[in-house]
Structures are given as C-alpha cells and as structure tokens.
Amino acid sequence: MKARELLTEQFGDFVRLEEKRPNIQQVYAPLYHEDGDMIDIFLDIPRDADLDPQQTVRLSDHGLSLMRLSYHLELDTQNKQKVFRKLLVENGLSEAMGELYLDTRAGSLYPALMQFSHAIAKVCNLRILKRETVAELFYEMLNEAVVDLLRDYNPVPRVCPIDGRDDLEADWELTANGIPVYLFGIKDTAKARLATLTCQAYQLNKLRFQSAVVHEDFGAIPRKDIARLTSACDKQFPSLADFREHSQQFMARISQSLKS
C-alpha cells in the first residue's frame, strides 16, 4: 500500500467523534499535549449531523485549555494577557468567557482542526515561555511595586534630570522631603553599567539626589560591575522581593534623615 493511502487510512481509522453532551461532539484524534493527554477539541454539532460544505461549524475547547494552563501559569498581568491575545490573533482563534473557538466551513473542517489543535497546544505551552516572560515582566512587576508601595513619594516614571541628556534616564523618580531619589531596575549587565554611568553623570553635574537600584538577580551581575555600581549608587535591593519588603522603610529613613 502506498504511504499516502496508509496515512489516509490510519488517520481516518483513528479519528472519531463521541457525544460528550447533546450537540457537543468530542473529537478523538491523535493530537496530544506534551504530557500525553489528548487535546480537548469539540464540535458543537448534533450527533451524526449531516454537514453542508458551506455550513459554519464551531471547533471549541469549552474552556479546557485555559483550565489546563492554570495548573502552572496565571494570566494575571497585562504582559501575559498581551502574549496570550497575540497568540490567539496569530493563530486565528477567538475567545469568549474563557472558551477558545474557531468557526470554519464544514468543507474546511480538517485544516481547521489542524489549525485549532496547533493553536491550543501553543496556548497550553505558554508556561514554557514563563521564564522568558518573567524576564520581560521584571520591569512590569517593578513598576507595579513602585506604584503600589511608594505612591506617597510621588513616583514619576522615566525622568531625565540633566537637560539635553535623554540618554541619562532614571526608571523612576521618587521624592523624599523635596529631594529626588532616582530608582533603576537592573535586569542585566548592560543595565547595571548604564545605571552606573548615569549615577556618576548625575554626581558630576552636582545634582542633589539619592539613588537606588533594584536587581532582578543580584548574583547574575559580574563582580566588577557590581563593584562599580556599589560605588556609584546609594542603595541596592538584591531582588524584587527584597524591594517589596524593604522599600517603604528605606524611603521613610531617607525622608527622616533629610528632614533632620
């Protein structure tokens, strides 16, 4: 038997529909998640429906993909939502109340099934992007922490205290008793060096200020860069967790010391 015939026969033999609920048929097909579970795909049609090729048919997951994703990942930030929405748009899926679906003509049911299953697999694998998204999320989380915890210090994002030097930007300006405290988020070595240069430039320009940096991972910055940064800035928070825990006390102490 020719390979094409074998494939057609085998795939055809494998695929079947089972009525899950009235007017909801579950598709049993050799399409699996990484853990070996079959991808949950449903056709919202009656059992044994006769389909006209032009008829619209809905492929749906009935909410099971986001349920699966939630085992390990919550779409609880703007950035994660953005990544999720982009994935849906790029793969032609729609979403309503947590249900992912794809409407297709019955005449294109097979390619739509392939498209839908690939997209569902990507959604359920969003957690694999977690590390990459976490890296990009660092600044988002830092921003959220600053706004949540330090609003009493009038946080202003992305300030350039030296006229004409928009290359010497601080991520945040806080104000403690009229004195600016410039805050830098440090995600990597490049940013560590930029923060060092920036703080040194502020000092050379005789600005009156305090400076603080928040590391995503203190241990990831090379020793010499840490040494330079330590020399240039006034305070280092070794992690976002430490910043969340101690930033309010830090700002309170700054305010007190500047008062006296």
Partner: protein, 159 residues
C-alpha cells in the same frame, strides 16, 4: 539541577501537612471551577502548591495536582496529577478513564516540565474522592484529610 527518580518519588511520598487549607467551595473562573491549597513537609522545609480544577461545562473533567519549585534552578514542574475522564491519552487513545500523571526523572532532566507517565486508576471516581485519594497519595495523614475533606456517603454516581 538533575533529579533522580528516587528524589522525585520522595518528594511525592514524603509525609506532609496542610499548611494552607483548601477552600470550602471551589470558585468559578471563566469556564472552570478552581481552588488551591498548600502542603508542606513536616519540618516546614519544602512547600508544595496544590491546585484543584473542574470544568464548569463537563464535571467529569477535573484535575488535582501538586507542583514543586526547585530552589536551585527556579524551575517549577508538576510532580503528580490526578485527572478525571477528559478524553484519551497516548497509551489509551480510544477511551476516557480516570488516570494519574507522574513526573519522571528522565523527562524533567530533559527539560520537559509535564508529568508524562500515565497510570489508569480505579481508586477514585469523582473529584471529591480524587482529592481524598490525592492527599493520601502524597502523604497527608488521615485525620487532616478527614478535617479538610470529610468523608461523604458516595452517591450512586460515585460508586
């Protein structure tokens, strides 16, 4: 960090206590119901978040699982997961059955964070009995299980 199968088995089997209680009722989140609890080892050294999920559309589709975050690498992965009848799996592609997923050392060491070993089970037949089975399986003592998941007379559909 690389894991041995023995280490993974110990993480599953080591006695634990409920450090953060499960909710009395699952809450709805879009198309599914959810709840979380937390288990810790007796010496409070290790913490394991546990999730409970049940489809609001198909109540036979449920999942109770325990995750673990390796301190050294920061990697979070599933150790064990009890599933309801959601459809086929690679080993049993043609019918839905209650089954348990286990993490294998070879998989996590190859960077696959999903528990791929699937074992069919008849040890539970509903979400409630799955939760009790799960807690027993991961080393929570019976008195705590009874405290948080009191035994109920099974309905006809659970028998």
């Amino acid at each position: 960090m690389r894991f041995s199968q023995q280490q993974l088995d110990e993480l599953v089997n080591t006695p634990k206590r409920v450090s953060k209680a499960p909710p009395r009722e699952l809450r709805q989140d879009s198309q599914y119901l959810r709840g979380e609890l937390e288990l810790t080892t007796r010496d409070d050294d290790l913490m394991f978040p546990v999730f409970i999920r049940q489809s609001a559309v198909f109540d036979e589709n449920f999942s109770v699982g325990m995750n673990y975050t390796d301190r050294e690498s920061g990697l979070t992965f599933g150790l064990i997961r009890c599933n309801g009848k959601h459809g086929g799996q690679k080993e049993h592609p043609h019918h839905a059955g209650f089954h348990v997923h286990y993490m294998q050392a070879d998989d996590i060491n190859d960077g696959i964070p999903d528990p791929r070993l699937v074992v069919q089970t008849t040890d539970y037949a509903s979400l409630k009995s799955a939760i009790r089975y799960f807690l027993r399986r991961v080393g929570v003592p019976e008195d705590e299980i009874q405290k948080y998941c009191p035994f109920e007379q099974p309905t006809l559909f659970e028998m």
